[in-house]
């Protein structure tokens, strides 16, 4: 028996369940790696538990260091994303800042729109494709 077909079957069925619930779904095989763990023993030679952690749900918009003007533009010409990037409640963001020899504080601000929903939800729902207006 080949085990790998189950991966596709389960993925297809899961995606189908989300679509029945009204979600648009895109699936892609992916891996999350844990850091290397070193097996440990206590002073008496007894194995002890070693905890390693990984993170999921991390996404990157720009995964390489770029000139800051290319990412943020300027005060009178801010860079606006071509499509909204929606962050659920409690999302955390990390920015990597790398200096070019200048000394001084850097203030980075995200500008956007806050959505208040009733009922409360953490679901991320992308904008629908609008229909054309009748002539």
């Amino acid at each position: 028996m080949i085990a790998s077909p189950d991966l596709k079957l389960m993925a297809d069925d899961t995606a189908r369940a989300y679509r029945r619930a009204g979600f648009e779904v895109h699936t892609a095989a992916f891996r999350y790696g844990f850091p290397l763990a070193q097996v440990a023993r206590d002073g008496g030679g007894v194995d002890v538990d070693v905890s390693v952690q990984t993170e999921i749900d991390r996404d990157a918009l720009f995964d390489r260091v770029l000139p800051h003007q290319a990412l943020v533009g300027a005060a009178d010409a801010p860079h606006v994303l071509g499509f909204p990037y929606i962050l659920p409640p409690g999302a955390r963001l990390e920015a990597l800042l790398r200096g070019s020899g200048e000394v001084g504080p850097v203030r980075l601000t995200l500008e956007g729109v806050k959505l208040y929903t009733q009922p409360y939800t953490r679901a991320v729902i992308l904008p629908d494709v609008p229909e054309l207006e009748a002539a």
Partner: protein, 188 residues
Amino acid sequence: MILSTPYLHVQAIRRRYRDEGRPTIAKPAGYNITLNLPNGAVGTTVENNVPIDSDSDFIWLSTYYYVQDDPWDPEVRGNGEVTGDVGERNISIQILSSGRTLSNPREIYPAPFDWGAQAFGGNDTGSEMQDGPTVNEGEFGILRCYLPEPIVVKGGDRISATIRIVQAAAPLGHLLLLSGVRLFTRGG
């Protein structure tokens, strides 16, 4: 009044994909092309290209063009400055699968891609942006130009950029950031 914005263009493209039986998920993204010159001598030409992720098409909306004295390397702390006149140069960007080429106005071929139309000039550190010179003149740190119409680049394609020095200039580091939206499709 007809409102035309990059976002509306993206939605119109998504509508076309949907009508073709390929609903999409969209995500803002960008692709970088580094053009580091070995020297600023007249005639010096450098080409580089970037692959488009095969799992999504790319809607190319705008281009940032960044210049600095030192060669650009994100892993090396550069000076981030342009300390002299940049000098005239020609830049072309080509989509390899179709051969479609976009060029700055000084190039031979007429192009719908006008670097100067919506250029933002900068001072020599590039930290402030103000209406100012075109790509061929004066000092600036960065330009941003929106394409008159977005260009859809198919997943797996490659985008190539070439820079050629027309007038001797000192800056060696040139970076193009093609900014836009990735379209992930299912089916079709």
